[in-house]
Amino acid sequence: MKNACRALAAVLLALLAVQANAATYRVDDTGTVVGQAVTPMRWRQPVPGRVADNTIEGQVSVALRLNLSQWVMRQARIYMLLAPTENERLVATWRTQGRLLPGSMRGGDRVLVFEGVVREPFLQETILLNLTADGRALERAQSLQFNFEIEMTP
């Protein structure tokens, strides 16, 4: 049995080695705090005009806390991902305080927010998310799932 366990461990280590070569990991962002549980979306143009603008928008701040303790002093790229959304015209744009890159994304996108050497075990940054969507296509409340991936660079 001891041999079997060693063999299994070897297989798993080999799998981990393959993963290490791919060198992409989900980042634990436990401790991240979203400013409000539900962000109310508002019409950019509350009264319809002669030119149709059916955009709705909302803003929320997010205090990020990324656990990078496994990759301290390693060269890395960090990406923010947004799971596919029901409203395909939903766009998330964010501003940062400088530790992460600002950017913009749609559902299903993966956008670079950091490139460099990880200096600290926890990266803390507050971002201001600006969400826009076509109001005609957002009939009910939705949950937008954001997460982070880290990629080791050689």
Binding site: M1, L12, D28, D29, T32, F146
Partner: protein, 210 residues
């Protein structure tokens, strides 16, 4: 009978597997909840409350604008339609301030239905009147009052020309997320012999959204 209890070796294998898999740290994902935008419905007949394109300034305006005509003696029994005047002074569109219902004397009617969703919902504008205008016990039919749509410039009236009746009239379907505008010029059709008097009646406009 063979026992189904796992052996120590089997348990050790499971423990070994769990320990090996334990290096996979479950990652959290943060969630942003969003709520759809609010719905709103607005109707203005004659003078309204809303400042230009500012729904926060909108409110219930209790003013009832009047549309009147005095039939001159020379026109009695002639059947010649008489143009009516109004005390409504709205001549510009609340959308953008563009000149729309000019010159004074016509009644501005504007409405919109702001809503989310992809279905083709629309609001419905109706008007209801009693069967008659009254002056004491004397009456004349409300259907003796007609209107024509007279939007100015590039913006035509969406309410088609017509006349009141004793039933609920559907005037126009207001497509969602658009502004419907009309500028109506009222006329008294001056039909035949009518009793003398000052006849009054109220027309009530209603915008209904699904």
């Amino acid at each position: 009978m063979r026992s189904r209890r796992p052996s120590f070796e089997q348990l050790r294998l499971v423990a070994c597997l769990a320990a090996a898999l334990g290096v996979q740290v479950p990652a959290h994902a943060y969630t942003v909840g969003i709520a759809s935008a609010s719905r709103s419905l607005y109707l203005q007949v004659g003078v309204g409350n809303m400042a230009q394109a500012n729904p926060n300034s909108a409110g219930n305006n209790t003013t009832r604008n009047n549309v009147t005509v005095t039939v001159p003696a020379a026109a009695l029994f002639t059947g010649a339609a008489q143009t009516m005047q109004t005390d409504s002074t709205v001549t510009v569109s609340p959308i953008d301030g563009a000149a729309y219902c000019t010159p004074v004397g016509k009644v501005y009617i504007g409405s919109f239905f702001r809503t989310t969703g992809s279905s083709n919902n629309s609001a419905t504008l109706t008007v209801s009147t009693p069967a008659t205008l009254s002056s004491g016990s004397a009456t004349i039919p409300f259907s003796s009052i007609a209107w024509t749509g007279t939007g100015t410039g590039q913006f035509d009236s969406e309410i088609p020309s017509g006349s009141f009746s004793s039933t609920l009239l559907t005037l126009v379907s207001v497509a969602k997320n658009t502004w419907s505008e009309s500028c109506l010029l009222f006329t008294y059709t001056n039909p035949g012999i009518m009793p003398a008097g000052t006849f009054t009646g109220t027309a009530t406009y209603t915008l209904t959204a699904p």
